[in-house]
C-alpha cells in the first residue's frame, strides 16, 4: 500500500500552489477550479436553502409569502390609493414581473456580500476556490427566484398570456443580465467586505435606492417624460432597469400601445456583454484580495 502510493506519486509532477500567471490563464484556472468543486457548490446551495427553513412548519412556502405580501401591499397602496392601476394596465403583472427580477438581484447581491464572512470557518481553514461562497448566494437566490417565477408564469398564462414571438427572447436575456451582474457584484463586494465591514451596510442602502431606480412600482411610460435626453440615457444604462423592462415586454400586456425605449434588445445585449466583462474583472480582483482572506477575517 505504501509503495503503491510512492509509485503513483512519483508519476505526478510537483504542482505550484501559487503560480504567477498572466490574466487570461489565471481566469481559466480559476474557472476550472470552481468547476471541479461544483458538487460542493451544489451542497452549499442546498445547505443555504435547507438551513433557512429547517424547523419551520411552512418551510418553503415562506419564500412565496414574502413577495406575495409585498405584491399585495404595493398593489393596494401604490395601485389603488395612489392610482397607479388607472395609469398602468394590468398593474399586478407589471409589478410582480419587476419585483421578481429585482428580488433575485437584491437577494443575490446582499447575501453574496456577506458570504465570505459568514463562511469564515471554512475560508480560514481549508483551501477552496473561495468564489464558491458568493456563487452559493447566487444559487440560493436563484432557487427562490424559480419558485416565484412559477407563480409569475401561471399568473401570466391565465391573464395576459405570453408574447410567443421572437420577442420572447427578451425574457431569458433579462434573467441572464440579472445573474451576470449579480455575480459580478457579489464577487467584488464579498471580497471588499472582508477588508472593510462597512461594505455590507453600504450595500443595504444602495440596494434600497436601487429598487426605485427601475420601473417596478411605476412604469417607464410614467418616468420617461420627466427625464431629458442625457438623464434618459443614464436611466436606460442600468442593467437592472433593462432586464425589468425586457421581462415586462414579454409578460405584460400594456394596452394601449406603450412607448418602449428604442433598441431595447440591443441595449440589453450590450449591458449583458458588459456584465460578462464585469464578472471577469470582479473575479480578477477577488482573486487578488482572497490571498489574505484567511488572515483578515
Amino acid at each position: 500500500m505504501a509503495s503503491d502510493r510512492a509509485d503513483r506519486l512519483s508519476q505526478e509532477l510537483l504542482r505550484d500552489l501559487f503560480p504567477r500567471q498572466s490574466v487570461f490563464p489565471a481566469s481559466i484556472a480559476s474557472i476550472a477550479a470552481i468547476w471541479q468543486r461544483r458538487e460542493l457548490l451544489g451542497l452549499l446551495v442546498r445547505r443555504e436553502i435547507r438551513a433557512k427553513y429547517k424547523d419551520s412548519t411552512l418551510g418553503l412556502v415562506w419564500s412565496l409569502i414574502r413577495p406575495l405580501v409585498l405584491l399585495a401591499i404595493y398593489y393596494v397602496v401604490i395601485g389603488k390609493f395612489l392610482g397607479a392601476t388607472r395609469m398602468i394596465a394590468n398593474f399586478p403583472i407589471h409589478l410582480y414581473a419587476g419585483l421578481t427580477l429585482w428580488t433575485l438581484f437584491q437577494e443575490a447581491v446582499f447575501a453574496g456580500t456577506g458570504s465570505i464572512l459568514s463562511n469564515a470557518a471554512i475560508v480560514k481553514k481549508t483551501a477552496l476556490p473561495r468564489e464558491i461562497f458568493p456563487l452559493t448566494s447566487i444559487g440560493a437566490a436563484g432557487f427562490n427566484f424559480i419558485i416565484q417565477l412559477v407563480i409569475l408564469i401561471v399568473a401570466v398564462a391565465f391573464t395576459t398570456g405570453f408574447d410567443w414571438s421572437i420577442g420572447f427572447l427578451h425574457f431569458p436575456l433579462a434573467i441572464l443580465i440579472i445573474v451576470t451582474w449579480a455575480t459580478a457584484f457579489a464577487l467584488l463586494l464579498s471580497a471588499l467586505n472582508v477588508y472593510m465591514r462597512d461594505v455590507q451596510h453600504l450595500v443595504e442602502v444602495v440596494l434600497m435606492i436601487g429598487f426605485y431606480v427601475s420601473p417596478v412600482i411605476y412604469s417607464w411610460g410614467m418616468a420617461a417624460p420627466h427625464l431629458s435626453g442625457v438623464l434618459q440615457e443614464i436611466y436606460l444604462a442600468n442593467p437592472i432597469t433593462l432586464a425589468v423592462m425586457g421581462t415586462q415586454r414579454v409578460v405584460w400586456d400594456p394596452t394601449p400601445a406603450y412607448p418602449w425605449p428604442s433598441h431595447l434588445a440591443l441595449r440589453m445585449l450590450i449591458v449583458w456583454v458588459i456584465g460578462l466583462a464585469a464578472v471577469f474583472l470582479a473575479q480578477r480582483l477577488f482573486n487578488r484580495l482572497q490571498s489574505n482572506f484567511a488572515q483578515e477575517i
Partner: protein, 402 residues
C-alpha cells in the same frame, strides 16, 4: 526511493497589523493609520522539502509562524514571495467540522464536510458506514448537530476527516480535543496513516505528541527556521531556548539578590566503558554504566557553602535522577576562589533505553541560583532490550517444582 511531496522555497510572509476595519475609522485616521501601520514578518526565507512517508512536527513558541507555514503549505494562505510545490492530495485538518451547520443533521453535515475536504459524493457514500462506525454516533446520525454533545461533534468531524484519504495530512493542534479514549483513537489512526506511507505535517505544543508521532521536527522561532532535525534534537533545542528565557527572567530577579557569582564554564560527559560518541549525544552507553559528569566552575571570589545540583531529564523535562550536594547528599563543597574542576560520578545508572539530558545548577548558601545550564550535555542509553520503560533491570524467572 524517496518521493518529494512538499518543496518550499524562500517563502516570506508578513502581516500588516492594523486594527481599523470600518470605513469611517479609515477615513478619519487615514494619515495616522499609515504611520501606525506595522508589518510583522511571520515567516522569513523558509525553505524545506518533505518526502512521502515522513512525519514532520512543526514546533516553536507561540507566534513563531508554525500555523502560518502550515496554512501556506495547505494553500490556504498565499506567501508574499517564494514558491510552494506539492504533489498528491493534501488534506488540512486545521479545524474539525469546518462548515458544519448546527441546523442540519449529522448525515447532511457529513456529506457537506466531506465535500469541503475534497471527497466526491460517491466516495462519501462508499465510506459513509465506516464514518458512522468510527465516530460511534450511531442513531444520532439523523439528529441535527446542534443537539450533539461537543464530544459527539468532534468525533463525527474527525471521522469524516480521516476518511478523506490524503497523501499529505496537515494537522494543527486538533488532536488536543476529546476525551482520552478518543485521543487514543486519533493517535491510532495517525499511526496507521504512517504505516500506509502518508506524509503527516503536524503543528503541536505537546512535546510528547511530537516525540510519539514524528520522525523529524522543525523548530521555528520568530518566523525563522532554526532547527530541522530529529525530534530529540529539535525538542531539546526548543526546551533549551524556553529554559533560557525562563532562566533569564529568573536570574534577573535572583542574581541581583545574591552577593556571590559563579559560572559553569565547561561540562562534558563520559562513561565507564568509554562508549562511542555521535553527533547528537556525547555518550551512548548501555544500561548499568557509570556516567561521569566533568565539571569546571569559575568562582571570581570564594563562595561559602555553595551547592551543586545535577539532574537527568528526558527531553520532555521529566526528571529521572536528581542529585543535590546539599539537600540529598549533605556534602560540603570546598569554598575557594578560582577555577574548580571535578568529576561527579553517577554509578551503575540503570536507566531504560532513551535519550537524556543533564541539567547542572550551582547555588549559593541561601539556595539562590548562581548559574544553570539547562542542557549541559546529552547522552543516550541503548542496548540490552530485556525490558522497556524508564528503569532498567534484567528479569529472571525460576519455576518452583510442586
Amino acid at each position: 526511493m524517496s518521493v518529494e511531496v512538499v518543496r518550499v522555497t524562500d517563502v516570506n510572509k508578513s502581516f500588516t497589523i492594523q486594527k481599523q476595519k470600518s470605513l469611517k475609522e479609515r477615513l478619519v485616521n487615514h494619515r495616522a493609520g499609515k504611520l501606525h501601520e506595522e508589518t510583522f514578518a511571520a515567516l522569513k526565507d523558509i525553505s524545506l522539502t518533505i518526502n512521502l512517508g515522513e512525519s514532520v512536527g512543526l514546533i516553536g513558541p507561540n507566534g513563531s509562524g508554525k500555523s502560518t507555514l502550515l496554512k501556506i503549505i495547505g494553500g490556504i494562505l498565499s506567501p508574499d514571495s517564494g514558491q510552494v510545490l506539492t504533489r498528491g492530495r493534501v488534506a488540512a485538518l486545521l479545524e474539525l467540522g469546518a462548515g458544519f451547520h448546527p441546523d442540519l443533521s449529522g448525515r447532511e453535515n457529513t456529506f457537506l464536510n466531506a465535500s469541503v475536504l475534497g471527497l466526491t459524493r460517491t466516495e462519501t457514500e462508499r465510506h459513509f458506514d465506516e464514518i458512522v462506525e468510527f465516530s460511534g454516533i450511531g442513531d444520532f446520525i439523523d439528529t441535527q448537530v446542534k443537539f450533539y454533545s461537543s464530544g459527539m461533534y468532534v468525533r463525527l468531524a474527525f471521522a469524516v476527516a480521516v476518511h478523506v484519504d490524503p497523501d499529505i495530512l496537515l494537522v494543527d493542534e486538533v488532536l488536543a480535543v476529546g476525551d482520552e479514549p478518543f485521543q487514543k483513537k486519533c493517535m491510532d489512526k495517525i499511526h496507521s496513516f504512517q504505516e500506509e506511507g502518508r506524509t503527516i505535517i503536524f503543528v503541536s505544543h505537546s512535546p510528547g505528541q511530537v516525540a510519539d508521532i514524528c520522525d523529524r521536527a522543525i523548530v521555528l522561532e520568530k518566523g525563522a527556521l532554526v532547527e530541522d532535525s530529529t525530534p530529540i534534537v529539535a525538542l531539546g533545542r526548543l526546551r533549551r531556548d524556553y529554559q533560557q528565557v525562563i532562566a533569564a527572567e529568573r536570574t534577573e530577579q535572583e542574581t541581583t539578590s545574591s552577593p556571590h557569582t559563579a559560572e559553569i564554564s565547561r561540562i562534558y560527559l563520559t562513561d565507564s566503558l568509554n562508549s562511542r560518541h555521535d553527533s547528537d549525544f556525547q555518550v551512548v552507553m548501555p544500561p548499568g554504566s557509570d556516567l561521569m559528569i566533568h565539571c569546571e566552575v569559575q568562582f571570581p571570589a570564594a563562595v561559602p557553602d555553595w551547592a551543586l545540583n545535577i539532574a537527568i531529564e528526558n527531553f520532555l523535562g521529566q526528571v529521572f535522577v536528581e542529585a543535590d550536594t546539599r539537600s540529598t547528599l549533605a556534602w560540603t563543597m570546598p569554598s575557594q576562589a578560582g577555577t574548580l574542576r571535578f568529576i561527579v560520578t553517577l554509578p551503575n545508572l540503570q536507566l531504560g533505553e532513551g535519550d537524556y539530558s543533564v541539567r547542572v545548577t550551582v547555588r549559593d548558601d541561601q539556595d539562590r541560583t548562581l548559574d544553570m545550564l539547562p542542557q549541559a550535555g546529552y547522552f543516550a542509553v541503548r542496548g540490552f532490550k530485556h525490558v522497556s520503560g524508564p528503569v532498567y533491570c534484567e528479569p529472571a524467572v525460576k519455576f518452583l517444582s510442586e
